[in-house]
Amino acid sequence: MKSDDKSYHTRTPGWKHAFGKKLENILGKGGVVSAGDELIAYDADALTGTRIIPMFVVLPESAAQVSAVLGLCYEEEVPFVPRGAGTGLSGGALPTEEGVVISLSRMNRILEVDIANERVVVEPGVVNINVTKAVSPYGYYYAPDPSSQVVCTIGGNVAENSGGVHCLKYGVTTNHVLGLEVVLPGGEIIETGGKTLDRPGYDLTGLVVGSEGLLGIVTKVVLRIVRKPETVKTFLAAFGRIEDAGAAVSGITARGVIPAGLEIMDNLCIRSVEEAVHAGYPVDAGSILLVELDGPAAGVEAEMPIVEDVLRENNATLIKMARDAKERDLFWKGRKNAFPAMGRVSSHYYVQDGVIPRSRLAEVLGKVEELSREYGLRVANVFHAGDGNLHPLVLYSAANEGEPERAHELAGKILRACVDAGGSITGEHGVGNDKKVYMGEMFAESDLDAMNVVRCSFDPKGLSNPGKVFPTPRTCVEQGAKPYTEHPLQKAGMGEMF
């Protein structure tokens, strides 16, 4: 039974009280949040358009506690939503009304740093940047670097398969996660993968990374760390037209150079970022392109003139190389603050995360501009150009009647343009609650059915982060148990089978 009235609950107050007591038995009083004013802090992640106050928030400190909570939820059929730092941009951590939010913030220990074997083992609540900090003295770092890396957690990165500004060359989270401890819905604790490679059996690690919390709760993560490059060189190039910046990107990769980072920002972004963080961007440029080369010194030196040639060939009006690490950090600071800086030019913005083949960049950007005009809403463009991951920011004001809806509609059309160009509706932010309606644009029913097999194998009751990712709820068909029938070849008199 469901009602449109948000205050309607199928659970009685008595049941709720008893359930809260059971949670306290597992976690202690300090591990359960039930007061209304405290629950508000968990009503959304960084996508704040929709807010739902959960029934309870729990703060487990061990896999055993998570297991006990999930066991209880299974028995009582209570849905649960895992949560890291709440920086997600797709509503993946949006609570369910009659559910429990499981915050992993207290499981924030780095369990093992194994430099010789290039591995770090962490709990899910460890903040991304802290992994790099732990290994930096040894000359290593953790490669995936989402813009929120100073707050976002590894558990959240695992759920979303987060990317960052260096994933063109170094890959995304899934390429750096080698093993997991996962508590399955029902409470069973399993280990997948490990510190070693090519472990026999299905790659469940690869399946859980990016599953957006729909397959259980991750309680331990084995990470790969990589050696810091010998040399890093960062270029800032300015262009009159954003199409030229896009053509330069294709030109660089076509010449056999794979930069560590390739980022484009348009004029609207440049201006707001420059105002916010003073990164030294040319505010009159139509667009800028950041190119970062890294690796062995001689290799980088050989690549530099190639990149400069390509930039010039594509009408760069300015080419500036970061003089030192400080200026490089400043270049990147601008880029990493592109989203928050938008707050200066617009009261609200809606970020999209579509992906297109690099070669279709100019075409899709043209389409975005067209849509922007059609809807009378400004769209700022910032994107990981190297891997075709666009982050159009649709600017609007919630105070204007109907504008939020129009902004969402416009954003949806941008995603459609991405899919039409052979791309994806999300490159790193996840589908979550936000983009599930677009899954059908990208995937056929048979594709979604194949994914549902996975979901049902992990979570037959559909309790783990329900209502996310998939456009329509899919049921789990009872598996297995087929009555024995005589093999047709046996029937045909072929006698015994093998």
Partner: protein
């Protein structure tokens, strides 16, 4: 329907000239089990029709390309149809500006590389059996790889999208054709290494890399295993970006060097380091490598061109494929620092009269092993090696061995606490257990 009618229906799907039965089918045996018939579908629709028929009549299906991995896994419990996708052999898309290509899974890796090479790009996997026709589908399904995985990873990191046919004939896509995509579950990851037990792979989309313009390899022998392993750690914790770093046991080092025509000292553990980049970067880094090796008491010789290629092709193909009597081929996965523990068992086995050779992807902790001996000796040796691998948190898999050895020692070892979940996934995709039954889960 009788036996002959069923076979006739199946042959009708692909056309008589693309179906084999009886003695002809024996050549397509897997793990010593011969299928009743072999079908070579020419389209995805035909694959789907075959699977629909197989589901209708509960016929077991052994998916394959060129069947170069016939020794991998447990012998199938049943084998009605061998389904080879070899005729699905085209590049469907190659957008060089995007460094992405989509190809049919029956295409051989060799043919794909030839097709991509014109644009100066390649799929950076270097598994064995390429000359015998290893196909894209087989390489994905076995997650097979070679020494260059240090730089590029395996198909796990390179496969971004796929099309497959489920046991009931349904065709579906997973992943996407762009390098970055997190929409829905990452089904390509699930299919990498799934050994044909979840569906028939028919199309694959990969990210590609530019072919490096220049390459050199150096090799050096060490006074002790401690020295060679210390050099491994020093190389990994240096600024050098290596394409391959191979650690060879003494007997194998000599054999591999002789094969390629390179000098190698007897009785010494050897390291081989390959660097590929622009010429100047290779030369600079090679000097750096030689310096590091020298600090560990080893004098490196550098080689190039045909000699270099022949050396690495030997390493790639070691320890070879399909089983002969008295021979076992293994793959151990341990942490980097545990490679010497595995080598010490190899030494011990040799002292005990078992033929044993090993080569480690030293920067990945993967150890390729070849053993020779009678069934009893092989099973005992595998137990010893597996014990040392597992005690360090690693695994050991039999890639190929005589049937008696496989059943005595166990092909996969302990599949761990997730085995129950793997079985649920298998029965979710294949409720009748008709795809490679018994081979993996």
């Amino acid at each position: 329907m009788g036996e002959s009618a069923i076979l006739k229906t199946l042959a009708g799907i692909v056309g008589g000239e693309n179906a084999l039965s009886g003695a002809w089918a024996e050549a397509y045996s897997v793990g010593g089990v011969a299928p009743r018939m072999v079908l070579f579908p020419g389209t995805v629709e035909e694959v789907s029709e075959i699977m629909k028929a197989a589901t209708r009549d509960s016929l077991s299906v052994l998916p394959m390309g060129s069947n170069t991995k016939r020794g991998l896994g447990d012998a199938p419990a049943r084998a009605d149809i061998a389904l080879s996708v070899k005729r699905l052999g085209r590049i469907l898309e190659h957008e060089s500006a995007d460094l992405v290509a989509t190809a049919e899974c029956g295409m051989t890796l060799a043919a794909l590389q030839e097709g991509l090479g014109g644009k100066g790009q390649f799929l950076p996997v270097d598994p064995p059996h390429v000359k015998e026709g290893a196909t894209l589908g087989g390489i994905i399904a076995s997650n097979d790889s070679g020494p260059e995985r240090l730089r590029y990873g395996t198909t796990r990191e390179l496969l971004i999208g796929m099309k497959a046919v489920r046991a009931d004939g349904t065709v579906f896509n997973g992943g996407a054709k762009v390098v970055k995509n997190v929409a829905g579950y990452d089904l390509p990851k699930l299919f990498v290494g799934s050994l044909g037990t979840l569906g028939i792979l028919v199309e694959a989309t990969f990210r590609l890399y530019p072919v490096p313009e220049y390459s050199r390899t150096c090799m050096a022998g060490f006074g002790s295993l401690e020295d060679s392993q210390a050099a491994v750690h020093a190389l990994l914790n240096s600024d050098v970006v290596m394409t391959s770093l191979e650690h060879l046991t003494p007997a194998l080092a000599v054999a591999a060097a002789e094969r390629a025509g390179i000098p190698a000292k007897r009785g010494r553990y050897h390291l081989a380091v390959r660097i590929a980049n622009v010429e100047k970067a290779v030369r600079d880094q090679m000097e750096h490598v030689r310096g590091i090796l020298k600090n560990h008491g080893a004098e490196a010789s550098v080689f190039e061109g045909d000699v270099e290629n022949s050396f690495w092709s030997g390493i790639r193909e070691f320890p070879g494929g399909a089983s002969e009597e008295g021979r076992a081929v293994l793959k151990a996965g341990v942490v980097i620092s545990e490679v010497p523990s595995v080598f010490k068992v190899i030494e011990m086995l040799r002292e005990g009269g078992v033929e044993a050779l090993a080569s480690a992807r030293a920067g990945n902790g993967m150890v390729m092993i070849e053993l020779g001996g009678d069934d009893h000796a092989l099973a005992g040796a595998i137990d010893s090696l597996r014990m040392v691998a597992e005690s360090g948190g690693g695994t050991l898999v039999i890639n190929d061995a005589p049937p008696g050895v496989k059943s005595a020692a166990g092909v996969w070892g302990d599949l761990g606490s997730a085995y129950g979940l793997m079985k649920r996934i298998k029965s979710g995709y294949d409720p009748l257990d008709i795809l490679n039954p018994g081979r993996l889960v």
